[in-house]
Amino acid sequence: MAEHVHQQIDEEIRSMAGYYMVLQEGLLEYNGREVLYLIEAAAADTSCCGGAGMGFIMVPGYIKSLKTHQNEEGLWVSDVDRISDEDERGELTRLLKQNNPGFQQVNFA
């Protein structure tokens, strides 16, 4: 089991190379459980070879308990089960890409 910290929607998380942000959170029914996924956007607008960016989907895992408490920064925290099985990852990648055309990257925490 692991903890997922829910970042603020539409807030730039900035690195020296660029930023990314969460556009939307979603829940997908799969395998009789709910999978938490984040629709995100990134722009490498200050990187050394910059100008690129991407839409990507992050999958923290299966929801165990959604938004159990807030951390010191006031952000909600959920308990999740990480998804490590290759076949599950493959199938979820396929489903998420199908439902979200244009998103090239699906990453698993």
């Binding site: 910290v5 690195s15 020296m16 190379a17 660029g18 990134a42 910059g50 100008g51 990507f56 925490a109």
Partner: protein, 401 residues
């Protein structure tokens, strides 16, 4: 018989501008600020400068070629101004030129100034240029720096039989630690600390490097004024003096690119320059004797392998050291106490001098407690320019005694 540079050069004063997207400043404007601060710190006037070395890598939009831009923008008094360029070691090369100038006895006071203004191209990132010659446009890959340095990761993981997750864990800590430090630094471009969750949640940019494993472009300038220890003692009789203990540069021989021996998991030039630098400085056990480091963290994977290339971590031991906090600000050998390229960005000609600026001020105990290294003896700076299989590495060591 040559005896190296140890204890033959003193830094009298240094200046460093705030790094960032300095839309309002030209390269000349930035240099004016860096020079003014360096002269003030040294207690000298412009007319005291006898020779200058200008470090610039890629800015042809502002600076063009030759040394005239510096001479004319800073209104230097008709002194020699030599433009030097050696990829990311350009700033260190400027320092090296000035150091040899005074160590040779040819000059009493010399200036090393580095600058890069990268925000006038109209697009993000470094300007397009055949940095490796036109032949490479045919024979080389359609690549970027992140992708080429990312190659270190697959080689390192293969060499030490590590799952890529372990490498990612270590490089996440590397970035996290630098952002913690940079948040406290008023000169840094990026001053926001980030959590490890935020770093790990970032998208993949060049496998396995994510958005937080890469540095970025920035504008900035830094300067150093150097002299011999004898002259420095006369000018500043009551102050501790920072001396250069070693200045080493190593350029690739072509072996990594074309011969089969190199394992791809570290940088041969860094290893070579480090070995020679320790010898020059009389350091026998770098892990114990080096107090702090500013290394070339253009990419977090580079910093990771550099810990081993510099002989601080044993082969395969860098991930453990990193995750144990060995290189954190309160660790055994703080690395990137100012936040590094991760927080300052990389105005190429200035970076080497910015690193020296950090070591210099730390050695003189000038920083507030929240970002000071305790009782430092030797500070090491490291630059790496080019690509892992064809590059220039510089290792410089400074000390105060």
């Amino acid at each position: 018989m040559a005896t190296g540079i140890r204890d033959k050069v003193c830094i009298l004063g240094m200046g460093c501008t705030k790094f960032g997207e300095r839309w309002d400043m030209s390269a000349g404007d930035l240099m004016i600020d860096a020079l003014r601060d360096a002269l003030e710190d040294a207690g000298l006037e412009k007319k005291d400068l006898q020779a200058a070395w200008l470090g610039v890598h890629i800015d042809e939009v502002n600076i063009g070629k030759g040394g005239t831009y510096a001479g004319m923008n800073l209104h230097l008094p008709l002194i020699p101004v030599t433009r030097v360029e050696n990829f990311c070691a350009s700033g260190t090369e400027a320092f090296r030129g000035a150091a040899y100038g005074v160590a040779s006895g040819a000059y009493d006071i010399a200036l090393a100034i580095g600058v890069e203004k990268l925000k006038d191209t109209g697009y993000g990132g470094l300007p397009d240029s055949p940095a490796f010659g036109q032949e490479m446009i045919f024979l080389g890959p359609n690549a970027t720096a992140p992708g080429l340095f990312a190659q270190l990761a697959t080689a390192y993981a293969a060499k030490f039989n590590l799952p890529m997750e372990r490498v990612k864990e270590a490089i996440t800590h590397v970035s996290w630690k630098s952002h913690q430090n940079g948040a406290k630094n008023p000169r840094a471009h990026l001053r926001k600390a980030v959590s490890k969750e935020q770093i790990m949640g970032s998208p993949m940019v060049a496998y396995p490097l994510g958005l937080f494993d890469c540095c970025g472009v920035s504008d900035g300038s830094a300067a150093a004024i150097v002299t011999t220890p004898e002259i420095a003692k006369k000018l500043k009789p009551n102050d501790p003096l920072v001396k250069a203990k070693a200045l080493q540069i190593s350029v690739s021989s072509g072996e990594e690119a074309m011969f089969d021996k190199w394992d791809g998991a570290g940088v041969i030039t860094t290893q070579t320059a480090a070995r020679r630098a320790y010898e020059e400085a009389g350091i026998k056990d770098p892990r114990k004797e080096i107090s702090m480091m500013e290394v070339h963290d253009c990419f977090s994977i580079t910093e990771l392998v550099t810990m081993e290339d510099l002989g601080i971590s044993p082969p395969g031991g860098a991930p453990d050291d990193v995750l144990n906090g060995f290189f954190d600000l309160d660790g055994q050998v703080p690395c990137q106490p100012d936040g590094g390229l991760k927080c300052f960005g990389h105005p190429i000609g200035a970076s080497g001098l910015r690193m020296i600026f950090e070591m210099y001020n730390q050695l003189l105990g000038r920083w507030p407690e929240d970002r000071a290294v305790k009782n430092p003896k030797f500070g090491l700076t490291h630059n790496l320019g080019g690509i892992p299989n064809g590059n220039v590495a510089s290792v410089a060591i400074f000390g105060v005694d």
